[in-house]
């Protein structure tokens, strides 16, 4: 049945690629992706043969593709709940960490006295992997959810702080001179000179923070929080439901890469002036 479906898809792709000139704007896009689609087809066929047909790979560790597809229909409610829980936790922690990191970074980049007090703390705590705080966090915080939010915020906050700070500190003093001779007050220098000039650095920090916060999210869900995709992975493995595990992994990867795409989209909008200055 699935084999037949695959043949239909393949035929459709071949036809569409050949007739690319006649289907408007979709045509070139499809033609450009045709090699990848072809390779994907080959991979899926090999996978199907290696698992379902000849059983070269041992079950239950390597389920055939249709078993994974089945998870998305049979276990949909639980998967959706897990996605929702993960997104909520990640978003809360990330936003808090990014905002705090940004404000801290601007403060220590701008003010010498704030830097004096915050810099050693940052030095001491920052390089510690946020997951090292797990045991402490889970008994000091009232709930495992708030503990995980704290850890994700911590993992996000450190790179955002450091890069915002270095961004603000590296703004050319010529910009400040220009603004000051034109009548700018200190608040204008911070908000309209230092921050926009530092924004490219800030986005590098946000990107790095996003990466390390994903790691914390999954670990926190596996260990403490009884919800989310990390927990689902753990649960599926416990029941030897390996198809569910792969299904959750695929969803997770789509979510993470989606989040990064979103971040890059925001950056491209905000830093549109960089186009032509630097090569992305």
């Amino acid at each position: 049945m699935l084999g037949f479906g695959a043949l239909v898809v393949a035929a459709a792709i071949v036809l569409a690629t050949l007739s690319a000139d006649y289907i408007g704007r979709l045509g070139p896009a499809l033609r450009q992706r045709a090699p990848w689609l072809l390779v994907l087809g080959v991979i899926f066929s090999a996978w199907e043969l290696a698992t379902a047909k000849f059983a070269w790979l041992p079950l239950p560790f390597f389920p055939p593709p249709q078993a994974i597809l089945e998870v998305y229909t049979d276990d949909l409610p639980k998967l959706l709940d897990s996605v929702l829980a993960s997104v909520k936790l990640q978003l809360g922690g990330y936003v808090i960490g990014a905002l705090l990191g940004f404000v801290t970074g601007v403060s220590i980049g701008w003010s010498r006295s704030v830097g004096y007090w915050v810099h050693p703390v940052l030095r001491f705590i920052g390089p510690l992997p946020a997951t090292a705080w797990l045991p402490v966090a889970f008994f000091t915080f009232p709930s495992s959810w708030s503990a995980s939010t704290f850890l994700i915020a911590l993992a996000t906050g450190f790179p955002v702080t450091v890069l915002t700070w270095s961004g603000v500190a590296s703004v050319s003093s010529a910009y400040y001179d220009v603004a000051r001779t034109l009548g700018a007050k200190p608040s204008f220098l911070v908000l309209k000179v230092a921050i926009p000039a530092a924004l490219p650095h800030v986005f590098v920090g946000l990107f790095m923070g996003l990466g390390s916060s994903f790691a914390v999210l999954v670990v926190a869900e596996m260990i403490g929080v009884k919800a989310g995709l990390g927990w689902y992975l753990q649960w599926a493995q416990g029941w030897a439901a390996y198809a569910n595990m792969y299904a959750a992994l695929i969803v997770m990867s789509l979510l993470c890469s989606g989040a990064i795409t979103l971040l890059f989209g925001v950056r491209d909008r905000l830093l549109v002036w960089q186009k032509g200055v630097v090569k992305w």
Binding site: V178, A179, T181, L182, V277
Partner: protein, 265 residues
């Protein structure tokens, strides 16, 4: 309030004020040792005058400008604008630097609007930004980003950013130093006509004797660091001046020999 703003004349002739530099000395701290850059410099610039400061590179000309702009305070001595002591930067004294230093994240229009925005008066004076862009011939580039401009255009935008504030004193720190020679010649003529139309007092730092003589009423020749005034030369020639004028060529020879370059003639 609105009626008053409309009644205000668009071009006010002779807005320039006097600039007094009285016994100013200044030094930099370099590795704990004081490096003197200015030594007892005194100079009075009349309202509306165009004064060029000419000196060897690194002699402290630019430092004198930074003091006049209020970006730094002198170690000793006093600077006054229109009789009032200069205590800090003020939009009535605007600087155009050697690098245009446009903010790369702002469009040309928003760069020119910077001063009005910083002073919180942009909403009432938006048309001034358009007028300044017109004045320097950049109206069609209002939405461009600085990296899309040529060197000359960027410096024009920087000039518009200064002029939009209606400065009483325009401070020019080698503004044409990095331009190619053709753009330079065009912009020299433009500077003169802007100065004649607006009537601001102008203080120009340059190390190009020809440029100084072509533009200024007075050329102040400074010595090597620590800078002191070597000569104060009046250029008694009406505008527009001609580059081939034998009077200017004669003055140029005189100025170059003051700078120790007589051997080149």
């Amino acid at each position: 309030m609105v009626a008053l703003a409309v009644a205000e004349p668009i071009t006010t002739p002779a807005v320039g004020v006097s600039l007094d530099i009285e016994n100013v000395s200044h030094a930099f701290d370099i590795d704990g040792a004081a490096l003197p850059v200015l030594h007892d410099v005194s100079l009075t610039v009349e309202p509306g005058e165009f004064v060029a400061l000419l000196g060897p590179s690194g002699c402290g000309k630019s430092t004198l400008l930074r003091l006049a702009a209020g970006l730094e305070q002198p170690r000793s001595g006093l600077l006054r604008e229109g009789g009032k002591e200069i205590e800090g930067p003020q939009p009535s004294r605007v600087v155009v630097f050697q690098d245009p230093t446009l903010f790369p994240w702002r469009t040309v229009w928003n760069n020119v609007a910077l001063g009005l925005e910083a002073q919180g008066i942009l909403k009432q004076r938006r048309q001034r930004v358009d007028a300044a862009l017109d004045l320097v011939g950049l109206s069609s580039f209002r939405n461009a980003y600085p990296h899309q401009l040529s060197g000359g255009m960027a410096q024009r935008a920087a000039l518009a950013r200064a002029l939009v504030n209606d400065p009483k004193v325009l401070i020019l720190d080698e503004p044409l130093g990095k331009l190619d020679s053709l753009t330079r010649i065009t912009m020299q003529a433009e500077l003169v006509s802007l100065w004649q139309r607006k009537g601001f007092t102008t203080l120009l730092v340059t190390h190009d004797a020809e440029e100084a003589l072509f533009l200024a009423n007075r050329v102040i020749v400074l010595s090597e660091r620590p800078a002191r005034i070597n000569a104060d030369i009046r250029v008694e020639r009406p505008y527009p001046r001609h580059r081939g004028d034998p009077y200017l060529a004669d003055l140029r020879r005189q100025v170059l020999s003051l700078l120790g370059l007589e051997a080149t003639w």
